[in-house]
């Protein structure tokens, strides 16, 4: 008798906890319905204000919908460790670059550890890691340890900076986590402007102030590249291979020495500039960079500027403390004002003071935003980025400059984006499957097992409640695969009842009384039920462990549902039968 009371208490407790956990979801739903039912905006605003804390509380604790149902982005970004390590290396040479290029290629197509790949590549070529990394006296394993630590630090810093950027942009409930040693997983529900988000995330935001080389030097350098293209030392673009001045078909140089390229041939020029043979022709410590924006000229064609700049930056973005997007003094040109810390201020004053009359390029992620002529010494640590197309872009620059530069470039290596309209379709599809799946199972059980079927159906309702309440309680979200898991669980949960009821029918057929048949049925069916539940749970657990994102949602609901059905299908139905037996409402006919 004691045991029986315990079971009843347990069932009551579980039901109450489930309902309590789902209560905010119901409140959230009914409040938003109320909100949208008002005829005027004023009324709904008043209601929202007067019920503010209640609405927020309900929303926070309600069952969350997954990215696929709500619409949003799931991104996996990768920190470019090859770049990170290359930056750390000293006395880089052609051999180092070719080794690293090989490592980069391998790293892109597999998930292997970059430090391992790097060590293997160096060992194969009989190069000691210490030749390029850290101290010459370090052993390979010491250097591996240091590189690993470097990589781990970079990952943490990158995550923080990305979090800053997303927070500044303003996304409700973003999820940013790291996975392994170079991946960052970002979940952004309800992002409406995905293009902007991608741009915001992928830039390194490495800001540099670099001196321009003299115009004459730039003219001479371009001339050298042109003759190398004529002689064939540098591979020329196919269209200009036969020309006498292949470079000048792409680049036009004005009498003042400034060079521009047609925006249509940007890709060709970028490819040309990347060639090692071209880089070898540049003066020492110099680099050819393109401007960030193409300017439309009078003839309707837009042109990029080409600059020969010093490779070593005079000052980098680390000194920036504040950034603000605004409109420039003259006209409607958006720009970003920046101020520096004290160290940066004094350096900036020295640099500008020493280079009056020269041009300083403001370079962000390898693109020149502007290259103003230094008019006078700037003592207050202010600087400005212009050459920005829209205020929106200026705002994004403000965000990335404030958040700081990433320690290494990051790339999007996986993306799953669902638009809000498809999300609404998914919700409809999910609801329909739940309703139809539930109806079909419930009707079948009643038709096939009569009264006992109703008991199983009651247990099934509790099962679904438990799954949803566990999701809500643990702040997990419900996705379309998760709904599929619930629908599948409904079919599997009643299996336990089928096994028990069939056994009871057998016992009845053998002439047992109803009470004894029920006891025997539950006892004898238990072993198969346990076995089948354990195997399903094991499969779901492994799916959860090895799967990612959407599949985990399925695995979670399947796990909760299967585990819960051990309780609902066995304990709950049995208590119902005990209750009915005690009132003499069960006969051998109750099992259909």
């Amino acid at each position: 008798m004691k045991n029986k009371r315990f079971n009843l208490l347990l069932i009551a407790a579980v039901t109450l906890v489930a309902l309590w956990s789902l209560w905010p979801t119901w409140r959230d739903y009914s409040l938003s319905r109320q909100l949208s039912s008002f005829s005027t905006q004023q009324d709904s605003l008043n209601f929202a204000l007067s019920h503010r804390s209640e609405i927020e509380d309900a929303r926070q604790k309600s069952l969350k919908l997954g990215l696929d149902l709500k619409g949003g982005m799931h991104l996996v970004m990768e920190v470019d460790q090859v770049d990170l390590f290359s930056e750390k290396a000293w006395n880089r040479d052609a051999r180092f670059d070719s080794l690293m290029a090989g490592v980069a290629k391998e790293a892109r197509s597999s998930d292997a550890d970059v430090v391992d790949l790097l060590s293997a590549a160096f060992r194969k070529d009989n190069v000691k890691l210490s030749r390029y990394f850290y101290d010459i006296r370090n052993s390979d394993s010491e250097i591996q340890g240091k590189l690993r630590k470097e990589a781990a630090d970079a990952l943490v810093r990158a995550r923080e900076i990305i979090r800053n950027r997303i927070d500044q942009y303003g996304v409700a409930e973003p999820m940013i986590t790291t996975q392994g040693n170079r991946k960052i997983i970002i979940e952004l529900p309800g992002v409406s402007d995905e293009n902007r988000m991608r741009n915001l995330l992928k830039g390194t935001a490495k800001l540099e102030f670099r001196l321009l080389r003299e115009p004459e030097l730039q003219v001479r350098t371009l001339e050298r590249i042109n003759s190398a293209m004529v002689s064939g030392a540098v591979a020329a673009a196919p269209s200009s291979a036969s020309s006498k001045a292949p470079l000048y078909e792409l680049v036009s140089v004005s009498p003042s020495g400034s060079a521009v390229i047609d925006s249509r041939s940007r890709d060709v020029v970028s490819a040309l500039l990347r060639q090692p043979a071209v880089r070898d022709l540049l003066p020492p410590d110099s680099e050819l960079l393109l401007s960030a924006r193409a300017e439309a000229a009078r003839d309707g064609v837009s042109y990029y500027d080409l600059y020969l700049v010093k490779k070593t930056a005079e000052l980098t973005g680390g000194v920036i403390t504040e950034a603000k997007a605004t409109f420039g003094s003259e006209g409607m040109q958006p720009e970003v004002l920046m101020s520096m810390n004290s160290e940066g201020t004094s350096k900036w004053a020295r640099i500008t003071g020493a280079n009056i009359g020269k041009r300083v390029a403001i370079v962000l992620d390898g693109a020149v935003y502007s290259a103003p002529v230094v008019q006078s010494k700037i003592p207050n640590g202010n600087s400005v980025i212009n050459g920005i197309q829209s205020l929106e872009e200026a705002k994004d620059l403000e965000i990335v400059l404030k958040a700081g530069a990433l320690p290494a470039p990051v790339r999007i290596i996986e993306e799953r984006t669902v638009g809000p309209s498809l999300g609404a379709d998914y919700i409809r599809a999910g609801l329909q499957s739940m309703i139809w799946g539930f109806t079909a199972v419930v009707i079948f059980m009643i038709v096939y097992y009569r009264k006992a079927g109703m008991a199983a159906d009651t247990a099934l309702v509790l099962n679904v409640l438990i799954v949803l309440s566990v999701l809500a309680g643990f702040n997990a979200s419900l996705s379309l695969p998760g709904i599929a898991g619930i629908v599948l669980t409904m079919g599997m949960a009643v299996d336990a009842n089928v096994l028990i009821y069939e056994r009871i029918r057998e016992e009845i057929a053998e002439g047992r009384s109803i009470t004894s048949a029920i006891t025997q049925g539950y006892d004898k069916a238990f072993s198969s039920i346990l076995d089948s539940h354990v195997t399903t749970l094991a499969a779901a657990f492994l799916l959860y462990t090895y799967g990612i994102g959407p599949i985990q949602g399925f695995a979670v609901t399947l796990m909760i549902g299967t585990a819960a059905s051990l309780f609902t299908a066995i304990v709950v139905t049995r208590e119902i039968f005990q209750f009915l037996l005690s009132r003499n409402k069960m006969t051998v006919k109750s099992f259909g």
């Binding site: 990768e78 139809w436 079919g491 096994l499 094991a538 799967g547």
Partner: protein, 311 residues
């Protein structure tokens, strides 16, 4: 209500025919996999997929030619939703560029029919190889776990044949995916993560049906002479027939609901689980139990079973 009254089918007598059917199905699948191969989705091969939905009906050939002229590489197919198309192309890491290329071309050439890009999936090569490995690990781990568990609960012969039955079920479904892959517009039957989820579900479920039969055999075989095994096996299978069919039936119904209502993203999964449960039910009666019987017959050692079936 009862669908099956007491049956007395001599299942073991048909086991040779069943073995032949199973082998034929497996062989067909293997041949198809060798000749035609499997249709891998972007999860495992890497790439980008874009679902474009139009406001009005537009022929697939027209969209295809517009995109091709705009320089969008890849293939365009009808997607399993109204007025929607699925473009699959290579992964290039710059979704914005791909998007603007598609939108620009479609806005330009199909002005009267506004479109919306409703879904983008892009999987880079390193993620794809990662996912492939995870899928293999999950499958192997699941099979080992089940082998271990059934081995502990019953004994090795039962566990091994149970796992053989799982292999049988999963491999036949895999063969079906190869045979039917790309044949239907409403379900491309591509191998992706959701199909791995389906395989693990099938593995977990296949053993469920098998265990029900095993459990009954275990209960009745205790202290019996090997000469009685044939009768016991047949009777056990007949006694559990109705529950085997009904448990599968309820699950099949819900999977069918998923296939019909849950939309194109779930359809391949639902198809795989549906086929898997059908085959799993068949294999628990005609493959798993007969294999145990044959093994017991050939080894001639009396069976030692763990677990206590209460009487």
């Amino acid at each position: 209500m009862r669908i099956f009254n007491t049956t007395t089918i001599n299942f073991l007598r048909y086991r040779k025919i069943a073995y032949a059917i199973s082998l034929a199905l497996l062989l067909a699948g293997f041949v198809s996999m060798a000749v035609k191969g499997l249709n891998y989705g972007i999860d495992f091969r890497g790439g980008s997929e874009v679902v474009i939905r139009f406001e009005k009906d537009v022929p697939v050939a027209e969209v295809r030619s517009v995109l091709r002229e705009a320089g969008v590489s890849g293939t365009l197919k009808q997607y399993g939703m109204d007025r929607s198309f699925l473009l699959s192309t290579v992964f290039n890491g710059d979704t914005n560029e791909l998007k603007s290329l598609i939108s620009g071309a479609l806005n330009d050439r199909l002005k009267g029919d506004p479109h919306e890009i409703v879904r983008i999936d892009a999987v880079g090569p390193s993620i794809a190889s990662d996912l492939k490995w995870s899928a293999v690990k999950a499958m192997v781990a699941a099979l080992l776990a089940i082998l271990l568990y059934v081995g502990i609960r019953f004994e090795l012969k039962f566990a091994a044949t149970g796992v053989v039955a799982i292999f049988h079920d999963v491999l036949i479904v895999l063969g079906l995916f190869s045979l039917l892959g790309g044949m239907f517009d409403i379900m491309p039957l591509e191998m992706d993560q959701s199909i791995i989820a389906a395989f693990l579900t099938i593995a977990g479920y296949s053993i469920t049906d098998t265990v029900v039969v095993y459990d009954r055999i275990r209960e009745r075989i205790r202290n019996q002479k090997p000469s009685e095994y044939e009768r016991i096996f047949n009777e056990s299978m007949n006694q559990t027939l109705s529950r085997t069919i009904i448990t599968s039936g309820t699950t099949l119904v819900t999977v069918l609901v998923l296939f019909i209502f849950a939309g194109p993203a779930i359809r391949g999964f639902a198809f795989a689980v549906f086929a898997g449960i059908l085959i799993g039910t068949y294999s628990s009666i005609f493959v798993a139990a007969p294999l145990v019987y044959d093994w017991l017959r050939l080894s001639k050692a009396p069976v030692k079973l763990r677990g206590t079936a209460k009487s």
